[in-house]
């Protein structure tokens, strides 16, 4: 029997993979991709909660839809920023993008 815990652990693993990628990759686009992974992990959580905890109200799914919307926006803007940075610096290696300091 597949329980809620299974889904939650799946989502946790996926989230951690995404987080690991976001924290360790050098390519800005790769980081964006990994953030998408994390958002998807969250969505799995939400949907699983709907199924197991509140089957009569679909709030979790609604949330997931909004997350998807926001994720779409985020990717669009994020990529735009990455492109702008690339145009300026000819590089998207995040370790070099440290002009925010001091």
């Amino acid at each position: 029997m597949i329980t809620l815990n299974h889904y939650l652990l799946l989502s946790a693993i996926l989230f951690c993979i995404g987080l690991y990628g976001a924290l360790s990759k050098r390519n800005a686009v790769a980081i964006l991709i990994c953030i998408e992974l994390m958002l998807n992990a969250v969505n799995i959580n939400l949907v699983a909660f709907t199924k197991f905890l509140t089957p009569e109200v679909l709030t979790g799914q609604i949330f997931a839809i909004f997350v998807i919307v926001v994720a779409a926006c985020e990717v669009a803007v994020g990529l735009a920023i990455v492109i702008a940075i690339y145009r300026d610096r000819s590089s998207v290696v995040v370790e070099n993008l440290d002009w925010l300091k001091w």
Binding site: H6, R26, V57, I68
Partner: protein
Amino acid sequence: MDYQVIAFWLLSFITLGSALSVVFFTNIVHSALALIVTFLGIAGIYLTLHADFLAAVQVLVYAGAISILIVFGIMLITRGDGKMAETNLFGKYKYTAAIVVTTLFGVISYFIIRTPWSIETAALSENTIGDLAEILLADYVIPFELAAILLTVAMVGAIVIAREVKNPK
């Protein structure tokens, strides 16, 4: 073993495997392709959770639109200098991040397991689209509209940011 169990394990395996590939591939294009697989796997997971509409959305938006967007992005920012295999390397936090993430996972899973969830056994309706539509267009109509505005804003914003600066002065 019913089909659900098999489907879950299979889909989990696909999703996590491709997710790991996303992270560990050193070619950014490969990573992007693996990402599509992950998205599709997640869509499958949704189906096991009776979220048919969401699964469809997942396929359309993520596997379809966002992946394409990302691939386009990669195309725009990657130099064609033949070193594609080095476009997606790890940075200096390869090991540190691994430790942090593993600990985090330990913490999360500990709490997941310890939490006594109050499971509702009632079944979801077979077709969620109708129910979703009712909620989305009644209770959540304002957030819904706001989401539309957000999308527009994001689109305009993306165009403004990404547009080539004609005259730097």
